[in-house]
């Protein structure tokens, strides 16, 4: 690990660099300071022009927070709870199944024929069109029927000696990660339509816990697989080989040896995923409307509803920000122990 002093720079230049970093730090922290102090201001403290120091410039008050708690500006308490429930469960599920997939990609060999992938896509598309247009099924029904048919056909096709390249573990990883490149609007909009058509068949997914969590799990998986693969690769294989000699089954090696050894990595991945779900806006905007609304939607709504009532807006923003501030503290502590270094190789 190279930690270089600022060699080759005069002491004057050294000071210049320190001032630059300090200036950036000031730019970073000022808006945070601003939102914290504004949340404790009274209306006159805001409208009278910018004020900065509590007790000197203005008298702090808890009024905005009491309003929030009493639900004067939307149901903050329940929305906070929604965000917490959806965030925790989506992050936990995504970390669990993502870690399993990442482990499989690190330790087991996979071969997928390109032809099989192509067959899957074409068959899914063709069967969907057939069921929907010719046989008169509704769109969700057609999709639900087309999916297993295409999947089974692709699995069978994978065993046949098809021409074309054979894709390995690296390609599967790339496929996972490339899902993240997709503009989410493509999925969000289509998912909304799909969910609402399924809803018309009697199974509500729009504005439901299940629909939102499922979508968040799918969208967190690429990042989880990508991060966890690096953590698993760093584990020496000898430990696992020793266990294999004793005929310990793979799932016990995973649960009993690999998971405990990569606990820090799992925790960091969980927190990063949680932050992503907690802050997510677009999917929540499309897929919720009242019962399962999350914090970002409610916070964004404050703006149009309440014009320039900054004390209230600040308090609302603070509610959304503070849990992540605490997590930043935890994460940076883990960072110091060199934990996240592996993630970017």
């Amino acid at each position: 690990m190279s930690r270089r002093g600022l060699t080759g720079l005069s002491s004057w230049n050294r000071r210049l660099v320190a001032v630059g970093v300090f200036a950036w730090c000031l730019i970073t922290t000022f808006p945070l300071y601003w939102v914290v102090v504004t949340a404790f201001k009274t209306p006159p403290g805001v409208v009278g022009g910018p004020t900065y120091i509590p007790f000197v410039d203005f008298t702090p008050t808890l009024e905005p927070f009491i309003d929030l708690y009493q639900g004067v500006r939307g149901e903050f308490f329940r929305t906070f709870l929604n965000s917490t429930i959806v965030g925790l469960s989506a992050a936990a599920i995504a970390t669990a199944i993502g870690a399993m997939a990442a482990y499989a990609l690190v330790r087991f060999e996979f071969k997928v024929r390109f032809g099989a992938g192509l067959i899957f896509f074409l068959l899914a598309l063709g069967a969907y069109l057939l069921f929907n247009n010719t046989l008169g099924f509704t769109r969700p029904q057609a999709l639900l029927l087309a999916f297993p048919i295409a999947l089974v056909a692709a699995i069978i096709a994978n065993r046949l000696p098809l021409p074309g390249p054979i894709l390995g573990n690296e390609d599967i990883l790339f496929w996972f990660v490339s899902q993240r490149m997709f503009p989410p609007i493509v999925t969000a909009f289509a998912l909304y339509l799909l969910y609402s058509e399924i809803g018309r068949l009697g199974f509500q997914l729009v504005d439901s816990y299940l629909g939102l969590t499922l979508c968040y799990v799918a969208f967190s998986l690429p990042i989880v697989v990508w991060l966890m693969r690096d953590f698993f690769e760093a584990i020496p294989i000898e430990v696992e080989e020793a266990a294999m000699v004793d005929n310990v089954p793979s799932w016990r090696i995973f649960l009993g040896i690999v998971v405990p050894m990569s606990m820090n990595g799992l925790l960091a991945t969980f927190m990063i995923t949680l932050a992503f779900v907690w802050n997510e806006f677009l999917f929540a905007l499309f897929l919720t409307n009242s019962r399962w609304q999350t914090l970002p939607i409610l916070v964004a709504g404050q703006n149009s509803q309440r014009g320039d009532e900054w004390w209230a807006i600040s308090a609302a923003a603070l509610v959304a920000i503070v849990p992540m501030m605490i997590m930043a503290g935890l994460l940076s502590r883990m960072m110091r122990s060199g934990l996240l270094l592996g993630a970017i190789k």
Partner: protein, 291 residues
């Protein structure tokens, strides 16, 4: 060494199934819808128009405006993020005094909800009651139209993007800098290379692969920008700051013009793919020269 054990399917299938289901369903759905003329309001039965939606989109000035705006935001913001982020990472790596203190503060913005950040930005950029206005008044520049003039609004959005995402670059570059080998620098010092020469001769080329990856991630993510703009300007004034995602949202969720919106999101997907592939093609010769 890779094992081969049937249990591998149990490990990988849950994740594959979830991702397949959530990505392939919408893909097929919107691909087929993009060839239809399909509106929910007023409810007209869908009609096949083949490439009609695509053709009318390509003639729509608002679409090109959205592409231009998004590209401007993405390229300027990511460029500046990279320069500032690399600089700060270099300084932190060189143990600037007080470096430990900075770390948490520097990490913070990227973990905060963009919606909340945009709200805070609205307060700071307020032309009469915001602190920035007070600061600039001291220099005789009172009441600048930060969010009500097209160019200013675009600059403000870029500034917020830089504020929020430079920490990501700092984090990644710092981690990369710490893996650089010490001995190359020792050799350079024996040759009396200046700090400037050391940077361009050693640090920058050796950091190129990481830089390439980090800029790529940020560029792709920046093209998806929506929440910041949604809260700060709502795409206004007029459509001056309307990004692609916001345009699609307006068309789809306000007008319920489904075929048109699906075609739009596919054009967006194609544009992102072109940008990504071009970027990687441009970067590749530089990376291979190193090996």
């Amino acid at each position: 060494m890779l094992r081969n054990d049937p249990i591998k399917h149990v490990f990988i299938w849950p994740a594959v199934l979830v991702v397949l289901a959530i990505s392939i369903f919408p893909l097929i759905y919107s691909l087929t819808t993009s060839f239809l003329s399909y509106r929910l309001i007023p409810p007209i039965p869908p009609r096949v128009v083949w490439f009609g939606n695509y053709a009318s989109l390509l003639q729509e000035p608002r679409f090109w405006n959205a592409i231009l705006t998004t590209t401007l935001i993405a390229f300027i913001a990511v460029g500046l993020q990279y320069v500032i982020g690399f600089g700060v990472a270099l300084a932190l790596n060189a143990r600037v005094p007080g470096e430990r203190l900075f770390r948490v503060a520097l990490l913070l913005p990227m973990l905060l909800a963009p919606v909340a950040v945009a709200l805070v930005a609205r307060m700071i950029f307020n032309p009469t009651m915001g602190p920035l206005n007070q600061l600039l008044s001291m220099f005789g520049l009172a009441n600048l139209p930060f969010l009500t003039n097209g160019h200013w609004a675009l600059a403000c959005i870029i500034a917020v993007e830089i504020w929020q995402w430079t920490p990501f670059i700092i984090l990644m570059m710092l981690a990369g800098l710490q893996t650089l080998p010490e001995d190359v620098y020792e050799a350079a010092e024996l040759e009396n290379a200046s700090a400037w020469q050391q940077f361009w001769g050693i640090t920058f080329p050796m950091m190129l692969p990481i830089s390439g990856a980090v800029v790529f991630i940020r560029l792709i993510e920046s093209y998806k920008i929506m929440d910041t703009v949604f809260v700060m300007t709502g795409g206004g004034p007029g459509v001056d700051t309307e990004t692609l995602t916001l345009f699609a949202y307006q068309e789809g969720f306000k007008k319920f013009n489904l075929g048109y919106t699906s075609a739009l999101s596919f054009l967006f997907l194609i544009a992102i793919t072109i940008i990504g592939v071009t970027y990687l093609a441009l970067l590749r010769p530089h990376l291979e020269k190193r090996r």
